[in-house]
């Protein structure tokens, strides 16, 4: 579905991803794991078009999307939930959702469906997003992404810094989304447990290079922990 083929990506003079190749397959979850600074978030920023690769190609369903702007990639079925529970802080919860639904043929229904996944948001519609808790903001961020009805959801450490009760809810939502078909998930995580268990395939990044990859699932957890311990 989404392929990175020999990409170099960086900021200023420093190169973060070196000749990196990996693929998120159609259906299910693909996990990318690594320590801080391994280049996981950079990979997703390049995938959605916020960073331009200096070399290499990114393809979506076989079509070269390397030169496309982020909004053009969203129009092709990609959605991105960045790290850090990002929102539009001075817009209310309702406005955060309406913003994405505006101009979409199925906007209302998609918003209702997204709210169905996170019912807690329904009671916070008039509250500014900047005043929500971290967990609520992350739910809002995922709901916003889902309104675009993506075929590929890019999730950057969706449970980082969130209270355990909400983490379980978010993990359950990711599993149900990936399991119902029609949508694939490229999940970037620092913590091995959930990501590897949920993934059909995993990649381990270290210093901007893939150092290990394989089939995901319960059995893969120890292999990934070993790869990350090096």
């Amino acid at each position: 579905m989404l392929e990175f083929d020999g990409i170099d990506v960086g900021y200023g003079r420093s190169v973060v991803l070196h000749d990196l190749s990996l693929a998120a397959r159609d259906g299910g979850v693909t996990a990318v794991l690594g320590h801080n600074g391994a280049g996981k978030s950079t990979l997703l920023r390049a995938a959605i078009g916020l960073l331009k690769p200096r070399a290499g190609t990114i393809r979506l369903d076989g079509a070269d999307i390397t030169g496309l702007a982020p909004h053009q990639r969203v129009a092709r079925g990609m959605a991105y939930v960045p790290q850090g529970q990002q929102s539009f802080p001075h817009l209310t919860t309702a406005e955060n959702l309406q913003l994405i639904a505006d101009g979409r043929r199925n906007g209302k229904a998609a918003t209702a469906e997204a709210l169905g996944l996170f019912p807690a948001l329904a009671g916070l519609m008039n509250r500014r997003a900047g005043l929500l808790s971290g967990g609520q903001r992350q739910q809002l961020a995922i709901a916003r992404a889902l309104i675009t009805e993506p075929r590929l959801l890019l999730l950057d450490e969706p449970t980082e810094g969130i209270q355990p009760s909400v983490v379980a809810e978010i993990e359950q939502t990711i599993l149900s989304l990936a399991g119902r078909g029609g949508m694939s998930v490229l999940l970037v995580e620092q913590h091995v447990g959930f990501a590897v268990r949920a993934a059909g395939r995993y990649y381990v990044l270290e210093a901007g290079r893939v150092t290990s990859s394989g089939q995901g699932g319960e059995d893969a957890e120890s292999a990934v922990r070993e790869a990350l311990a090096v």
Binding site: I48, Y80, P82, S87, P89, L91, D102, G103, A129, L131
Partner: protein, 300 residues
Amino acid sequence: MTLVFSQLFTGISIGAVLLLIALGLSLTFGQMNVINMAHGEFIMAGAYTVYVVQQIITNAGVSLLVALPVAFLVAGAMGVVLEFLLIRRLYTRPLDTLLVTWGVALILQQLARDIFGAPNVQTRAPDLLTGSITIFSSGDGNDLMVANSRLFILTLALLAVAALTLGLRMTPLGRRIRAVVQNRDLAAASGIATGRVDRMTFFIGSGLAGIAGVALTLVGPIGPTMGTNIIIDAFLVVVVGGIGQLKGTVIVAFALGMMQSLVEYSTTISVAKVLVFLTIVAFLQWRPQGLFTLRTRSLA
């Protein structure tokens, strides 16, 4: 007492002019952080639009009404061209933006001299706006009177504030503008064409400068440097009100106008200007973020 009220009304009308000018800046400078030194020349373009329209439509009232939307479109289009050709390449380089737009301002001033001549030109105000109305009659000759043109400018400023507030809050474009201002990368990654939103924001901000230019023709002559003379005050209004805060812009525009008017009453125009600037400097030392900021629990 009548004199104090009279000065207050003068202050309100100065504030209304300041507000009209600062409204456009509150979008391009306050919301987008672009220091566009050519904003004053968009005001000038709006004013010259009235002059040109009056060459075609001789009825002063009709020409003023026609000039309002035309000036909005002319100044807005100039803003879009400037944004598309220069500013969008300089979003990460604010000092370069300042210098480049200053250069553009000088070019536009010279262009105005070439087209309309160096001396100031006059437009005709509609009869309805040339008189004044008596707010309070004291019976001793010290009546409280307000010029109709000033009331018109005040109404225009309040209508512009209402339209901008509603537009930013209620329309899809308004939501997109606010989203791009608050988190550009997230907006782009959410499917918003940020470049198009930037251009529309510049169009509206510059168009409002055009409207301000139309209003200024009612209180003074039109000249190539008319925008430059007043733009600094408008920048101060946006900074003191709080960057990106429409509410702050409105309050500070009227506060500065009234302060200027009241201090002028007991001193001179120059001394009043110095005292107002000193007060602003002191205020910004105490509250550098401006009058209003929004509370958030997150940075993004």
